[in-house]
Subunit: 132 residues, 2 copies
């Protein structure tokens, strides 16, 4: 992975997660990585990533996370990457679109921060529909 740029690293990470490949995505984050879903809460490290996403991924028939805009500063030793995404996910045949802005920090070749900003009402609506 040493040939990656911060830009391509975050794109790969995002694509792996949208493919529900938590195993490989987990190798791209640091042991103490902060994973912060701003309106909901934080988790830490590979296990935190897994705990947060496993249940959600199990609910989803499929996911498509589109990066609309992205800008990065720095290199794989130390970088900030910010993006704007449309996180699409299908639950019981219904497609939901979550409009998201993501903030990432990279240190020593791994993601040390992943923070997503969004309005939680869309997510709550999807969860309620899925549990009804």
């Amino acid at each position: 992975m040493t040939t990656d740029s911060p830009d391509s690293f975050v794109r790969s990470f995002t694509a792996l997660l949208a493919a529900k490949n938590i195993d490989v995505a987990s190798t791209m984050i640091s042991d103490d990585c902060e994973y912060d879903n701003v309106p909901i809460g934080k988790a830490f490290g590979p296990q935190g990533l897994r705990d947060t996403l496993t249940g959600f991924f199990a609910m989803c028939d499929s996911l498509d996370w589109e990066i609309v805009r992205q800008s990065s500063t720095g290199d794989m030793n130390s970088a900030v990457v910010l993006n704007e995404r449309i996180d699409r996910f299908v639950i019981e045949g219904t497609t939901y679109e979550l409009l998201v802005a993501g903030v990432y920090e990279i240190r020593d070749g791994r993601i040390t921060l992943w923070r997503d900003y969004f309005d939680q009402s869309v997510l709550m609506q999807a969860f309620q529909a899925a549990s009804s």
Copy 2:
């Protein structure tokens, strides 16, 4: 303003608005600029900016919008700027902190898109407190 970089241009724009200086900030956006508060709605152009912010600014004793991280791509002819902010505002003596991610596009020396991602629950809480 031709000596500005996209990075400094957005920093100036943000500081002007936090100082409630809509008049000067308005000159930095295009006539058809899209101003999108994602969970709430869109407004367009200098008048839309004014209509959206005048009432809010009137409620606020003071504002302090801190840019925590920012990254930009391009130049003043065509650029994308993304940032992470803490928008602090004081209403009736109480300080609120709105955690925001902003997306900006610049074309031909002016801001043509300003889109803010945040969870609206903090904002609604402040508005309810102010109107009670």
